[in-house]
């Protein structure tokens, strides 16, 4: 997946000299995960810029770059560091188009790895997506496959709206699938049916999609047919796509890495019960982390929902009745 992201950045920079990449360690080092490897050598220090370690001014100056006519791509090294820039993302990036009554478009992309499972030090692994989906004006996408990583990034960079582009830390090297060489886009706001099924709809995004697919495989051996939806985009949300699946299955499980309370799963539950109430055959369930801080690496496997837990919960859901 990391190669797909890097290839996309290179192609977009090649096609449009207004694209600049800024962030911590993105230049000579090529990013701590190598997402920008080789870009500075190709496009120069002016367009691939190692920034001082201050997330607030990284995002804040990115806003200024966008207003000057450039199309910045900002790398936040980890979403866990995003709080140092939260005032710029939440109150500034997301609102400046509105506050200037359309005068200032903000064609900027904030790329950031998030989620756990790779034994990082503390405060690197939280799945904070729900903070940002509660921020009108900001689009939030979270690809699960390498193909989508490339296509969604291209779409995000093409968009005149600011986009938070979340990359699965765990999927960077683990996720491997076919990626065309040529440039293409995957539209923002359209989910992907990762696996078709008839009995239960299992909704996930980012790294959790892989867990969902493996659980679905096991469940099929137990005779339960699971449809896995990869949301790809949290805002805009593909409500039509979700409704079509729920109309077919009548049972819904939502899987996310973030804690339960206030997680994006709650938003999905509310939306589905409103849109699909008469299709539902059982209460919707959420499979998530507990309502506790993200732990140290030695216990993170107990924190993030795994395949066994998803299988057990979906088996119970398949038997449940309204």
């Amino acid at each position: 997946m990391i190669e797909a992201i890097r290839e996309c950045l290179g192609q977009e920079m090649e096609a449009d000299n207004r694209v600049v990449v800024i962030g911590e360690d993105v230049g000579v080092l090529g990013g701590v995960f190598r997402a920008t490897d080789g870009l500075q050598a190709r496009f120069g220090k002016e367009r691939v810029v190692d920034m001082p370690l201050a997330e607030g001014v990284i995002v804040g100056s990115g806003i200024g770059l966008a207003m000057s006519g450039l199309r910045p791509v900002i790398e936040l090294q980890f979403l866990g560091f995003g709080h140092q820039a939260f005032h710029q993302i939440g109150q500034q990036v997301a609102r400046l188009r509105y506050r200037s009554q359309g005068r200032h478009a903000l064609p900027l992309v904030i790329r950031s790895p998030f989620g756990g499972g790779v034994r990082t030090p503390e405060l690197h692994s939280d799945a904070f997506e729900a903070f940002y989906t509660h921020t009108p004006g900001l689009k939030v996408v979270a690809p699960a496959t390498a193909y989508d990583a490339k296509g969604l990034l291209a779409a995000a960079m093409e968009s005149d709206d600011p986009v938070l582009y979340l990359e699965p830390l765990k999927g960077y090297r683990l996720t491997k699938d076919e990626v065309p060489d040529e440039r293409y886009t995957v539209p923002l706001g359209k989910l992907r049916v990762a696996r078709e099924g008839a009995d239960v709809t299992l909704i996930a995004w980012s790294a959790a999609v892989n867990v969902a697919e493996r659980a679905a495989e096991e469940l099929s051996e137990q005779g339960i047919s699971v449809e896995v939806l990869d949301l790809r985009s949290l805002n805009p949300l593909d409500i039509v796509g979700i409704s079509e699946s729920v109309a077919k299955t009548g049972r819904v499980a939502i899987l996310h890495e973030a804690p339960l309370t206030g997680g994006f799963g709650g938003e999905l539950v509310a939306t589905i019960q409103q849109e699909c109430f008469y299709s539902l055959e059982a209460p919707i369930i959420r499979i998530s982390a507990p309502d506790t801080p993200y732990p140290l690496g030695g216990v993170e496997d107990l924190y993030i929902p795994d395949v066994d837990r998803v299988v057990a919960e979906v088996v119970a859901l398949a038997k449940a009745s309204a």
């Binding site: 001082p52 995002v59 804040g60 200037s100 009554q101 359309g102 805009p236 409500i239």
Partner: protein, 361 residues
Amino acid sequence: MSESRFLPNFEPIAPFSRLTDSGILDSGESPMSDDAVLEALRYMMLTRVFDDKATSMQRQGRFGTFSSVRGQEASVVGAASALDPTKDWIVPQYREFPALIRHGYPIENFALYFMGNPKGGTIPPNVNMLPMQISLAAQIPQATGLAWGLKMQGGDGVVITFFGDGASSEGDFHESLNLAGIMKAPVIFFLQNNGWAISTPRENQTAARSFAERAIGYGVEGVMVDGNDLLAVHEVTKQAVAKARAGRGPTLIESVTYRTGAHNTADDPTRYIDQQELEKWQQKDPVERIKNYLRSRGIWNENLEQELLDSCAAQIDAAMEIARNTPLATSDALFDHVYAEPPQRMLDQKRDWANRNGDAR
């Protein structure tokens, strides 16, 4: 002490000034022509007329909470008058009315904004400014990035950003000076030290003896100027603009002035301001000071004053009339311009809100 391992304390610097408190120019040449001073004075008087009008309308419930410029007119106008509106940018806070108007932002938009109409936020396409910033210091990184971006694209535009002594305690200020120094961004950090952040005195913002000297820590040049001296503010800002335009990087200007009015119309400064100190600063009124300068030049008289006041009042009245006659915003104003490509869900909400609120469509 030469053997000390510690950096020396900096000698306190005195603010640069050109005029005495009574408006007499020093022995040097004026940095502004008489016409330029007259134009600047008109913006200062226009501001006072606007502030009085808006305050009285606010008391009658016809205008929202807003912050007057009172006491800081020379500071704001002196800085703005050093800019070229065709290529320079203003990244404001919220207490810079005359700078925005000189740059081309319509008075009626300014008024509409404070009347609570989102349309007031509209910045005409040829006006180089960002929206007013309410979140303290958040505009400073944006100004830095904007300046850096202009430079990267080979332009010679310069960005000035306004903020106060209070805002300079925010991380955004420090992060921005640091980045601007690294990138040699053509940005001017115009810090108006007006003595107060609502009720918090300047002493509670920093132990540094001046705000200007903070620039040193970021490899940026700092300068302290008498903010009630129009000529000095203009001169210093003009030099900073020329330096930035020539590619020689940012400047931090500390403009030492005093907020002789309230923080805003909701504030009661009698609870914390020392009356004697206030009166001392009222004696240094920047408008009177520049009028005295013009008197000393023999080009100011009662007739001219009345003429200018009348024309300012007419201009403000006309703008307020436009603002008053602007239709109230419909519920569409909640939704318009939030996105370039809005999510369907928000578009559905826009329709529902319009139906509920009975908009004609």
